[in-house]
Symmetry: C2
């Protein structure tokens, strides 16, 4: 496993960006206790900044967990914007519902329990699509959802470097899944795609038309 960012750099960066929101800190704590994979704070900050830049009306997350990444999106969309959370585990969504009720952002969210791809295909004109579900499903997720994206949409995918294993020639189903997804997106001429080596790799793909 290749360490993508040196821990001293990570620490310096976190020191520059202190956060005091109690829900955010509680979610980070919860992720640690449950060993639940959330995008971390630096990725969260990047999601926030990209969302502000894109000013989306509709954000769809495939694989929302208990709402950590959704918290960043929900804070960044305007009051008329919507963030759709999907997860197969209803308990995750229950946690998120309570959290977003408490912080007053609940009107910006939809909570959808079930298969993320089944639910995802109900939407149209998605401005930002965030992919963070099972790694074997990434390419299928892209194929299914690309026709549902708005003009100049931004597709964001977490774990595009998969602990560096994509670069080491790993051949387990998850590494293969991510590698196929990366190739699939990078070869498309209708997207401009790049991968940021932040934490576990964040793919950014901008729809060119």
């Amino acid at each position: 496993m290749i360490p993508i960012t040196d821990p001293r750099i990570e620490e310096y960066l976190r020191g520059l960006a202190p956060e005091d929101d109690t829900h955010l800190i509680a979610m980070e704590q919860r992720a640690k206790e449950l060993a639940f994979p959330i995008v971390d704070r630096l990725v969260g900050r990047l999601l926030y900044l990209l969302t502000r830049l894109r000013q989306p009306q509709l954000v769809v997350e495939l694989g929302s967990g208990f709402g950590y990444s959704a918290w960043w999106f929900a804070r960044a969309v305007s009051i008329t914007g919507t963030v759709v959370m999907t997860d197969r585990d209803g308990a995750n969504l229950d946690y998120a519902r309570t959290m977003f009720r408490q912080n007053g952002l609940i009107d910006r969210l939809e909570f959808r329990e079930g298969d993320a791809l089944e639910i995802g295909r109900e939407y149209r004109d998605i401005d930002i699509l965030f992919i963070d579900l099972d790694k074997e499903q990434y390419r299928l997720a892209a194929e299914t959802m690309i026709p549902r994206l708005a003009k100049n949409a931004l597709l964001i995918a977490d774990n595009a470097l998969w602990y560096g294993r994509v670069a080491e020639g790993g051949d387990d189903p998850e590494t293969r899944g991510i590698r196929e997804f990366n190739d699939f997106m990078c070869l498309r001429r209708d997207f401009f795609t790049t991968i940021i080596p932040l934490r576990d790799g964040v793919m950014l793909a901008y729809r060119l038309s």
Copy 2:
């Protein structure tokens, strides 16, 4: 010195994003031969994507060298957009002028020889400001230019991690310059600021109003 991104990751990422533009390749070659510090290709791709997302009318670069970063901005702005290049070294701008004449993008560029801060302060309503000049000048550059930024402007600065020295407690003037700049930007409430640990660190600061 801390390696910010593992070389195997860098190689994987470059392999995903082949480029065949002859001017781009010539500039990369030239940078190597002259040991001239340009943002590299992965940073260039990030600049391109951010510029497409922001859709700026006016981009101002402080410290343009011979036009490598400007090449990415110029391709990403719309045909009505302008990219202002500044450099104290006229030979750099001559190179850039020839290159942009050949690739047909010259109408999108202004070539300004002289002190970047003197020239920079002539502009108003800057949508994207790119800072890449002498590292001791970063904080002064931010202070000078922030009043000249448009609503929801994006400030981008290269070398925000300065070979990792900012995280190692380095105390030379350049490291100190970058550290003061990072602190200055991250403490401001009118910007949302984050640093991407890509190559030598790219600061992204979004003006919140």
